[in-house]
C-alpha cells in the first residue's frame, strides 16, 4: 500500500464522501428494496385478512339501530332514573323519532333489534309507528296516549330495553354467545336454563375437536414414524398416498364418505354380506361419521410436521441409547419421542385449530347434535341475517384459537413450533 492510513482519521470513499454515511445509505437502499418486494403481499393481507378481522371484532359489539333511528329518544332516555316510567319529554321524543323513522322506512330495523331483547317488541313498535304522527288534544299527555294505544308502553321493562340499546355498542351479542344476559344493573348473569344453547355448542365443538386431534395423533404418529424410517423411494410413494386426498375437494371427500357410511352404503352392505352384522350400523349422520370423515381429512396435517421432524432425527440416537443399555422401547420413549414433541404438537395444534372452525363435514355428515360453532355462524349470517351474533361467535372462536396458541407457546415455546 502506497498510502498509509492516518490513525483515527475517518475513512472516506474514493469520491471523498464519508464511508459511514455511504454505507448507511447503501444499507437503507437495500432495506427499501426488501420492503418494496414484500409490500404487495403485506397490503393484500392487510386488506383481506387483518381489516376483516377487526371489522368482525367491531361488528360483534356494534349496536347502531336505536341510536341512529331513534336519536332524540336515545339522548333523552340517558337521564332517565330507570325506576318509574320515563318523563313526558321522552314519550314526545319517541313520537317524533318514530314519525321520522316511518318516513325513512327504518322502523323494521329498530323493531327487529328491540325484539331480540323482548319478544313482541317488534309488533309494538310497528303498531305504534303506523299511527304516527299523533295529533294531541290540548292538555293531553303523550305518555297517556301511548299507554292508551298499547299498555305495554306503561311497562318500564320495555323502556329499559330502549335505554340499554341507546348506546352505539353493546355486549349483548357476546353475552348471548356465552348464554349470558345483561341484568338491569348492567352486570352479566347466566340465562335461564331453557334459553341456554351456546355453552353446550362451544363445549361440543371443543370436545369433537379434542377427539379428532387425539385420533389423528394415534393414527398419524406411527405412520409418520414408518414413513421416516423407510428407504426414500418407498417413503416417497407412500407420501404421495398421504397427500392424495389434498388433490380432491373436501366436499367430494365428505360426499364419498356418505356413500361409504350410509345405511345401505358400501361398508354396511359388505359387513352384512359377510354375515358379521345382522342390522346395518349407524355410521353416517351421527358422531361416528363426523369423527371418521374429519380424522381422514385432517390426518395429513399431523403426519406432515411429524414426518419432517422425524426425518431430521438420525437413527444413531436410538442406537446410541440401546448401546448404552436401554431397552429399545424405553429408548424410544426417552430419546426419540421427546425430540418429536415439537413437530407433533405443532401438527396437533394445527388440527385442533382447524377442527374448531370446521363446518362442511359436520353439516353434511352429522345430525343436529354434531353441529359446531361455525354452523351457527353460517346460520346467523345466511338465514337470520343477524350479523351481530355471527360476528360475536366468530370472535369467540378467534379468541379460543389465540388462547390455545398462547398456552401452547407458553408450554412448548413458539420458537420450537416446527411445521417442517
Amino acid at each position: 500500500m502506497s498510502q498509509t492510513l492516518t490513525e483515527n482519521a475517518p475513512l472516506t470513499a474514493a469520491d471523498g464522501e464519508l464511508l459511514t454515511v455511504k454505507l448507511a445509505r447503501e444499507h437503507r437502499n437495500k432495506q427499501l428494496k426488501a420492503v418494496a418486494l414484500v409490500a404487495p403481499l403485506a397490503i393484500f393481507l392487510l386488506l383481506t385478512f387483518l381489516v376483516p378481522i377487526f371489522m368482525l371484532l367491531g361488528r360483534s359489539v356494534d349496536n347502531p339501530e336505536v341510536v341512529t333511528h331513534l336519536p332524540a329518544t336515545s339522548q333523552l332516555i340517558a337521564s332517565w332514573d330507570r325506576r318509574a316510567l320515563p318523563s313526558e319529554e321522552v314519550f314526545q321524543a319517541m313520537a317524533r323519532d318514530l314519525t321520522a323513522a316511518k318516513e325513512a322506512k327504518t322502523v323494521p330495523e329498530v323493531a327487529k333489534r328491540l325484539n331480540m331483547d323482548i319478544s313482541g317488541f317488534r309488533s309494538l313498535i310497528q303498531k305504534t309507528a303506523r299511527k304516527m304522527p299523533l295529533e294531541l288534544a290540548a292538555g293531553e299527555s303523550m305518555r297517556d296516549r301511548f299507554i292508551q294505544m298499547d299498555e305495554r308502553w306503561g311497562d318500564p321493562d320495555h323502556w329499559h330495553v330502549i335505554a340499554k340499546n341507546a348506546k352505539s355498542w353493546t355486549p349483548y351479542y357476546l353475552y348471548s354467545s356465552l348464554d349470558l344476559r345483561e341484568t338491569k344493573a348492567g352486570t352479566p348473569e347466566l340465562a335461564p336454563e331453557e334459553e341456554r344453547a351456546f355453552i353446550s355448542i362451544f363445549g361440543r365443538t371443543l370436545w369433537i375437536s379434542f377427539w379428532v386431534t387425539v385420533f389423528c395423533l394415534l393414527l398419524g404418529y406411527p405412520l409418520a414414524y414408518w414413513l421416516a424410517n423407510l428407504p426414500a423411494r418407498k417413503s416417497n410413494l407412500l407420501m404421495i398416498l398421504v397427500l392424495l386426498p389434498f388433490w380432491t375437494s373436501v366436499l367430494v371427500r365428505v360426499a364419498s364418505w356418505i356413500v361409504l357410511l350410509q345405511r345401505e352404503g358400501l361398508i354396511n352392505s359388505a359387513l352384512m354380506n359377510l354375515g358379521i352384522i345382522g342390522e346395518p350400523l349407524q355410521l353416517a349422520f351421527n358422531r361416528v361419521g363426523v369423527y371418521i370423515a374429519m380424522v381422514h381429512i385432517l390426518l395429513p396435517f399431523v403426519i406432515l410436521p411429524a414426518y419432517s421432524v422425524m426425518k431430521s432425527i438420525p437413527p444413531t440416537y436410538m442406537r446410541a441409547a440401546i448401546s448404552l443399555g436401554d431397552h429399545p422401547f424405553a429408548a424410544f420413549w426417552k430419546i426419540y419421542f421427546p425430540q418429536t414433541v415439537a413437530g407433533v404438537a405443532a401438527g396437533a395444534l394445527l388440527v385442533f385449530i382447524m377442527c374448531i372452525g370446521y363446518y362442511i363435514t359436520p353439516a353434511l355428515l352429522g345430525s343436529p347434535e354434531e353441529q359446531m360453532v361455525s354452523y351457527y355462524v353460517a346460520f346467523y349470517t345466511n338465514v337470520t341475517i343477524n350479523w351481530g351474533m355471527a360476528a360475536a361467535l366468530g370472535s369467540l372462536l378467534l379468541i379460543a384459537t389465540m388462547t390455545l396458541y398462547g398456552l401452547y407457546s407458553k408450554l412448548v415455546g413458539a420458537n420450537k413450533l416446527s411445521l417442517g
Partner: protein, 372 residues
Amino acid sequence: MMSEKHTASDTLVSFRGVQKSYDGASLIVKNLDLDIRKGEFLTMLGPSGSGKTTCLMMLAGFETPTHGEIRLGDKLLNHVPPHKRNIGMVFQNYALFPHMTVAENLAYPLTIRKMGKSEITDRVKKALGMVKLDALANRYPGQMSGGQQQRVALARALVFEPQLVLMDEPLGALDKQLREHMQLEIKHIHENLGITVVYVTHDQGEALTMSDRVAVFKDGIIQQIDAANVLYEKPVNSFVANFIGENNTLHGEVVALHDQHCTVRLGNGDTVQAAAVCVGQAGEATSMSIRPERVRLNRHAEACENRLQARLAEFIYFGDHVRLRLDVAGQSGFMVKVPAGELDSSWKVGDKLDIGWMARDIRALDASVYTH
C-alpha cells in the same frame, strides 16, 4: 494371517467364520476370522464398502451375522440383543441426546443400571474430568463445539465401564488439527483405562498413529492384520502396500524365483532383485512395492543391490523436504523424498539420475492393475 501365538485367555472377542449378506446375493463380509485381545486397540481400516463398519455393527448387535459365531469372552453373542451386550459405542455424528444436558447424557447409562444418585454423580464427575470438560456439565450438546461433543460422546461410552468400546469413525467430522489432537487423547485414555477398543476408520494415518494392531479390509476380507510398523514396512499384497502410506509401484515379470528372493524384469529389460512376498512362479506378472524414503540417489545409490537410471520429471516442494517425480524404466509417477538440505541445486527437469535401493526394501507382490 491370524497370529496364533496368543492363548485363548488373552482373547476378548472372537469372530469365527462370520459372513454377512444384506441382499442374499453378495457377501459384504466374507468368512471373517478375527481375535481381538484384551486391552488391545484394534483398528479396522479399509475403503468404504469394505465391510469394516458391518463387522463393527455385528459386534455391537445392530446387525446379525448371516453365518458364523461372534464371542465376547466365553459368551456367544449372536443372539444377545444389543442393549444387553454392555459394549460402549462412539458414533461418527456423536449421537448425543440433544434434549439432555451433558451431565444427563452421561447419567443415562448409569440410571438404566439402577445406580444410586450419589454414585451416578461421582461417576459423571469422574468421566467429565477424564475428558477435561468439568465446567460444561450443564450445557446442552447444541451449545458445544464439535470437539467438545466428541469428548462427551467418548465419556458417555466409557462412563459405565464397559470392557469393550467400539468407535465408528469418531473423528470423521472434525477438522485436521482437532482430529490429530483427539487421536492422541483417545490413545492416552485407552492406555490409562486398559480397556479394549475396536476402532473403525478409512483414514490410514489415524490407524497407524493410534492402534496396537490394524486390520486392513477390502471386499469383506481382512487383507492383513498387524502392528502399524509391520503393515507399513512389510505389506503382504499390493492393496495393503498402496493403501497404507506412500508407495512406489514397479510392474514387471518374474524371471527367477529362489526361496525368499526373486529376479524381476522390468518393461525396458532392466532386472531388479526383490524380496519375494506374494509371487507364484517364474513367468508371472508382479507389482513391486518400495517406499519413497528407501530410494537412494546418485552416489548414495552406489552401494545398492539394485541400480537404475531415472529421468527427473518434476520437483514438488513440501517445505521440509522436496519430492522428485521420476520416470523409471518407462513408468512414470515414481516418487523420491529428498530432505531440503540434501537437494542438489544443479538438478533440473529432464536430468538423468542414478537411483538405487536394497533388495530387501523392495517387495514383489501380486500384480496390481497396470494404470500407466
